[in-house]
Amino acid sequence: MGADVSDLSLVRRVQRGDKGAFDALVLKYQHKLVKLVMRYVRNPAEAEDIAQEAFIKAYRALPQFRGDSAFYTWLYRIAINTAKNAVVSRDRSPIEYNLDRSSDESYDMQGRMKDSETPEGLVLTDEIRSIVNGAIDALPEDLRTAIVLRELEGLSYEEIAATMDCPVGTVRSRIFRAREAIDLRLREVFEGGLGRAEELG
């Protein structure tokens, strides 16, 4: 287990022509990639465009990926190069560059507006954060600890088992149950309409 097995199984499917498997990789890494690109560009909308370009470049280059490194490491390098190139080409167009740099706060706000496109989008982002954090707070202690150690600290199941002094199977079960509890709350919101409004927007 580990050693990028799950990503590799999806990558191999894409390499055999299964485009659906690439969706799973995008869904898994889109947030990480946007966060990474935002080290280079401060505008979330621009970061999203760059991340999109990086994903498409990765898809086209996937036949050359042999699995010598982890998929995310490989994707990471593509995203960094794409972001650097985007910054260079943006700096060559001074009108656009000078427009938004007057104040960091206003620049960031403008970016967020472009990112979400509608005020509902902004509400949704905050709404998701509030729902997830509320659901985590409502979790039993053992489930909360397991999911936080996994998602925030990035510990493996074995490390979590050692930390919590329980079998690995119990860790797997606790993390799954924690996710299910949070996911239930997210689905309620989504089915309530906010998600659909953002999707349409």
Binding site: S9, G20, D23, V26, L27, H31, M38, E48, E198
Partner: protein
């Protein structure tokens, strides 16, 4: 969707599922939109816990990438497998080339040995005769060959290749004695006898020839 499948999905998301199970689940994940949506929400949960910015349930990013990828040609037909096949063929060609070269070299060696047995055989015999008495060191009951002090024994004179057969040489001496003086004839004969005593002692025709001459 059953609970075991969802539990496997959660473990796969954390890269904590076995390779075989991952293979099966990856196939299902790529086709099952409901499962994919759940997978996407797991990513949202993680991103929110890590306080990543711009987290959205149905991010426009994934949708845009999906649209762009649909317009791309599928990789399976002209992508990795063919490239892997090409690299595999290249590898096999290199191995076949090496095998042919090794075969030619081996045939050449055998042919040379068959053509010149006198020239090659003594050399190989000499190389195969390291003297253990002087060329080894004994350490804790084990014999370790010492490379720097190894010697090669000279072969026994009887096995040395004779360029001119002894009988021919004896006949020559006898024929020469017909025209030479008795003193010179005796000197030549004694020199011949001392130079190759083994041969002279065993070769019967030599004795016959010398007695005829006297």
């Amino acid at each position: 969707m059953n609970e075991e499948l969802e539990s496997q999905l959660s473990a796969m998301f954390d890269d904590e599922l076995s390779a075989a199970e991952c293979e099966l689940l990856a196939r299902r994940l790529s086709r099952d939109e409901q499962l994919k949506a759940r997978w996407g929400r797991y990513a949202v949960i993680g991103a929110t816990i890590r306080a990543e910015r711009g987290v959205r349930l149905h991010a426009a990013l994934a949708r845009k990438v999906n649209t762009a990828i649909l317009a791309e040609p599928a990789l399976g037909v002209s992508g990795a497998p063919q490239r892997a096949l090409r690299s595999g063929l290249r590898w096999r060609q290199a191995v076949a080339g090496l095998a042919v070269a090794a075969g030619v070299a081996a045939v050449s060696v055998f042919w040379l040995r068959a053509e010149a047995p006198l020239a090659v055989a003594p050399l190989t015999a000499q190389l195969a005769l390291p003297v253990q008495a002087f060329g080894t060191t004994q350490t804790a009951g084990t014999t370790v060959p010492a490379r720097a002090d190894s010697y090669v024994l000279p072969r026994a004179p009887a096995s040395r290749p004779v360029v001119v057969p002894v009988t021919e040489l004896a006949n020559y001496v006898v024929a020469h004695s017909m025209v030479s003086s008795p003193v010179a004839r005796r000197n030549l004969l004694s020199a011949f006898m001392t130079s190759d005593p083994g041969a002279a002692g065993t070769e019967e025709p030599l004795e016959v020839a010398t007695s005829n001459a006297q």
